[in-house]
Amino acid sequence: MSFIAQAVPLEVPPIDYGAIAPLLIVLGMACISVLVEAFLPRHQRWPVQVALTLVTLVGAGLALGLYAGTGPDGITTLADAVAVDPPTLFLWGTLLALALGSVLLIADRSVEPGGAFLASAESRAAVVGVGGSRAGGVGRSAEERGYGSPDQAPTMQTEVFPFTLFALGGMMTFVAANDLLTMFIALEVLSLPLYLMCGLARRRRLLSQEAAVKYFLLGAFASAFFLYGLALIYGYAGTIRFPEIADSVVASPMSDALLLGGLALLVVGLMFKGSVGPFHTWTPDVYQGAPTPVTAFMAACTKVAAFGGILRVLHVAFGDSRWEWRGVLWAVAIASMAIGAVIGLTQTDVKRMVAYSSVAHAGFLLIGAMSITEQGVSGTLFYLLAYGFTTLAVFGVISLVRDADGEATHLSRWAGLAKRSPVLAAVMTFLLLALAGIPLTSGFTAKFAVFAAALEDGMAPLVVIALVASAVAAFFYIRVIVLMYFSEPAEDGPAVTVPGAFTTAAITLGVLITLVLGIVPTLALGWAGAGGFVG
């Protein structure tokens, strides 16, 4: 093409560094974190990486707070590729806070001696060798028990920290992306580290690696959907920017089939990440297989990022054509709630159960995201905040219930837990009640906000279905509570590990926020409702 040949000096778009400072801090420190991994000797890495990651998160949080306090109400920068508006700021804050909690869980080395992570690069042979020598007498397959003896592996593989930061950077870009290409790239940036992180488990190596491969294959599949949808929409609108797509909905001469087909594919790609049924199939396997701290990170942060993206796409780009797509999303939301609530009932593994709970919650979130009103945005944002912290704390608790083979995630192992460690059982009960949406927990306030928004936008039947679904879903939460309190403990039941300072901090954070958002949610609701999307 001619304009390349003319070599016009490329104009650098103006960049509002203040606005994107949190993003830059996270991504920049992620690079430094890689250097640390490369150049520091092994035994120094863990403390340095932990300190560096925590400093990054706090620093990014401070930069965010500074900007939110002083900055303008909503701008786009980087040639309109990134929008920094109140929802973005809220989502960034949520992501940073949740990442802080997850990093605390990830960094803990006292629960699992040496930490829960093993380098994915480490050869299986070595693992089998070590495991086999120990496991022979126990009669377990070497792969299942593949972990080093305490004296052999006191340090923990620390690649997980740069991965976390990169994934976080991707998520933050994802929720701020103002065009489809930026969004796609951010999607890949957030996904690739996650695939790797899933395969890092020190215990149950095969399960963990299987989860990583599954997540990767299906993720690639979903990315393809997203990309195809992007192409169709570009074909329809001639642009990839969200506000311009919105304008073209009225003006474009092309067939609506392009638009709707494109939107459908796009939404499928996004819903995959948010584990909305029926695109949730990866969720239980991956939640179960991944190391629990990573599961916590995925369950909390990926959900926030995915729904942040869905919100922006639906509200900014497709808000005006809502009557075309809403019926379909109704069906998807109902399917997701039903799948989550019904299949969750037959689960016997606590991590899989929480996975199905997340599918049901995705349905509730979708109801909020479909309400194209200010309340819809603020309700969904609030829900994400509330759900993220509850779920983070739930996985924190799960990581503490252990027996000789690592975490005891089979529900039967949780029987009578309250007798052995009443505090842990009480914390778990509180969190499960929050997931069920019982008042005085954040779960209730969040559901209330989302349902209220949906009602106001004329979706009363959907709200009724959602109420029924949440009543059904409550059964499997109460089932765990009943199990913990009213069943006889198993004789060789799991012991509850005394959590280290990091895990304690993460769980406390999650529980406190769950409680505070339940009792005095006004402040957070105010932040969530501070303003709408730009564009």
């Binding site: 029926p278 797509w325 299949i343 009932l345 005085l440 928004a453 009602l455 009213f486």
Partner: protein, 668 residues
């Protein structure tokens, strides 16, 4: 015909001052008590129960102070609100955390904290571990003190939640209390963790209450959708704007919630099973307070029910059906607590009937609720005392002749019994007869049906209660030749003073409450909340006849019970060859079978899942599930095969459907 009711004048709402500004302490104190007991753990074992008692007593004192302060105001000024903080605000919509102090809520506050205090005191003795045979130590776990502390923590939690329920000034706060009392109630039903039946009963209560709670939630959302507010004062002011069909939907959904909590038809089956909990719990939660929350809800929502005849009709029908069901089944059980439980179901049916009559009955429903709170709590405490003496046996066929061994229990129980069957001038006589009169006060078929059913049930009540008293306190001492399940002889003895004292207080209440409350004008006191009591002029029977009729029928019931039970020896083993009605009643009039078919069968998957987990993961759940949903859950689970290819296929299928549907919506 029910007549349309002219709108009741709504009271002016003043700001709370003086003692009333301390109203938040009412529920904060017991909540703090619960918190301290939960958090401090074993350290609180020695004094924890006294802390529980103290917080509830303090609440009672504050409640009394506010009550007397309110009495000093003129009736128009008696409705006051205390704004605490903004709880939630979603866009234009805010939910207050505020307290509404009016005669209705204050009445409940006194009932809850008053009876609550007595039952807390009783529990100190009843739940005592190893106190020289005084305690319920058969139940108490090895760490008996811990179990008593846990009990008091949960009981305090219940009192706090119940107070939030009645004091809240909007429907969402009511919902908060509603869930809170539910939670406390499940915990307490399942208190004896070592009994599988207790866990099952807790689950059943939870299950049926969820059905009701969804109804309540839907009603609240409908109100908000129509009016944009959930504040009582605003809702009642503007409820006239709501269209008739929606109004009926709201009232029916509220009623569904009320039925779940109050054990009314068709959700009555959980309440008798809830007797698995410790007896003080049965007395406080499942007789005097929580189960009457449904009555409170309907009375509180009076301005809504006033506008819809259909809504009220449904309430009365539910009440009539339930009061008969409860009374019939009560005749057939041999378990002393279950008889009392069905009696509770039946008496709450009376209250529903009353509040369903609208302004002619709201105050009567509350009146009966109060007197019932006294005598039924007393009866349960008496039953607890008897069980306590009889090695925790609940089968009345093993009792007999206990009057002489436990005189205080016998006398207090007897007074409660007389109050319940409506013995003239005792409290039940005033409150129950008033409801029956109001029922006969309706015009046309409704007067005959309501009045007839209520009178018939009064006769049945007299029958089953007389049967209970005869089997327990009179006749042959059947226990002398028996041993309890754990192989001990029975040595009936009177209970300690912490247990008998509350029983005596409640017995005095059972005797006097009716006369006092009607003497001091309960209905006028409640008028600012519930409207003036309207007496009907066109009843199907003259007023003068009705008390004679009711007393006559009740006497007949007593007589028949004497002839059937009192004059023949009672077999220790339950006879199996009995007539069809008795068999039906013994099976709860097939309520469980009906639930099984219509509610539980679709929920079989659930129970299977529960059993499945309880049995430590025997993998049988997916195989051969005949039930509809069970099958589908199994089938759905089978999709989760673990193969990436099948996952990808399901995603592809989903995507194709989404795309096809999108395009179909647009181009069809």
């Amino acid at each position: 015909m029910l007549t349309a009711v002219p709108p009741v004048e709504l009271p002016e709402i003043g700001a709370a001052s003086g003692a009333a500004s301390l109203a938040w302490l009412l529920f904060v104190l017991p909540a703090l008590g619960a918190l301290v007991l939960f958090v401090t753990g074993r350290r609180a074992n020695a004094w924890g129960h006294w802390l529980g008692v103290a917080t509830v007593l303090a609440s009672f004192a504050i409640g009394l102070a506010i009550f007397f302060e309110t009495l000093g105001l003129s009736p128009e000024q008696r409705t006051r609100e205390l704004h605490l903080f903004d709880w939630m605000s979603v866009g234009s919509f805010t939910v207050d955390f505020g307290v509404r102090l009016d005669p209705l809520s204050l009445t409940f506050v006194l009932l809850i904290t008053g009876v609550g205090s007595l039952i807390h005191i009783y529990s100190v003795g009843y739940m005592a571990p190893h106190a020289g045979g005084d305690g319920d130590d058969d139940h108490a776990e090895p760490g008996g003190d811990s179990s008593r502390r846990r009990f008091f923590a949960q009981l305090n939690l219940f009192v706090a939640a119940m107070l939030v329920l009645v004091l809240g000034n909007n429907f969402v706060l009511l919902y908060l209390g509603w869930e809170g009392v539910g939670l406390a109630s499940y915990l307490l039903i399942g208190f004896y963790q070592d009994r599988p039946s207790a866990a099952t009963a807790a689950k059943k209560a939870f299950l049926m209450n969820r059905v009701g709670d969804v109804g309540l939630a839907i009603a609240i959302f409908l109100l908000w959708l129509e009016l944009g507010t959930v504040q009582y004062s605003e809702v009642f002011e503007r409820i006239g704007e709501v269209g008739a069909p929606t109004l009926v939907a709201i009232t029916v959904m509220l009623l569904l919630g009320a039925c779940g909590k109050s054990g009314q038809f068709p959700l009555q089956a959980w309440l008798p099973d809830a007797m698995e909990g410790p007896t003080p719990v049965s007395a406080l939660i499942h007789a005097a307070t929580m189960v009457t929350a449904g009555v409170y809800l309907i009375a509180r929502s009076g301005p809504i029910y006033n506008l819809t005849e259909t809504g009220r009709l449904v309430v009365t029908l539910v009440g009539v059906v339930t009061l008969l069901i409860g009374a019939i089944i009560g005749c057939a059980y041999d378990d002393i607590k279950k008889v009392l439980a069905y009696s509770t179901v039946s008496q709450i049916g009376y209250m529903f009937l009353a509040v369903g009559l609208g302004p002619a009955g709201y105050a009567l429903g509350i009146f009966h609720l109060l007197t019932h709170g006294f005598f039924k709590a007393g009866l349960f405490l008496g039953a607890g005392s008897v069980m306590h003496a009889m090695n925790d046996d609940v089968d009345m066929r093993r009792y007999g002749g206990l009057a002489r061994h436990m005189p205080i229990t016998f006398v207090t129980f007897g007074l409660g019994y007389l109050a319940l069957i409506g013995f003239p001038l005792l409290s039940g006589y005033f409150s129950k007869d008033a409801i029956i009169e109001a029922a006969f006060g309706q015009e046309g078929w409704q007067g005959w049906v309501y009045g007839g059913a209520a009178t018939l049930a009064a006769g049945l009540t007299a029958f089953y209660m007389t049967r209970l008293v005869l089997m327990t306190f009179f006749g042959e001492k059947r226990w002398q030749n028996l041993k309890s399940a754990d192989g001990h002889d029975y040595h009936p003895h009177e209970s300690p003073v912490t247990m008998t004292a509350p029983m005596i207080v409640l017995a005095i209440g059972s005797v006097g409450a009716g006369a006092i409350l009607s003497g001091i004008g309960l209905t006028e006191w409640l008028a600012p909340s519930l409207g003036e009591l309207r007496e009907s002029e066109h009843g199907v029977l003259p007023h003068a006849v009705i008390p004679w009729l009711v007393v006559g029928i009740s006497a007949l019931g007593v007589l028949i019970a004497y002839l059937v039970v009192g004059r023949r020896p009672t077999p220790v083993e339950r006879p199996e060859r009995v007539s069809l009605p008795v068999r039906a009643a013994r099976r709860d009039l097939y309520a469980n079978a009906i639930n099984e078919t219509f509610i539980a069968r679709p929920g079989t998957w659930l129970s299977r899942a529960l059993v499945f987990v309880d049995n430590r993961g025997v993998d049988g759940v997916v195989n051969g599930t005949a039930a509809l949903l069970g099958g589908s859950s199994g089938r759905l689970r089978r999709f989760q095969t673990g193969f990436v290819r099948s996952y990808a296929l399901s995603m592809l299928g989903g995507s194709v459907l989404v795309i096809a549907a999108m395009l179909a919506v647009r181009f069809a």
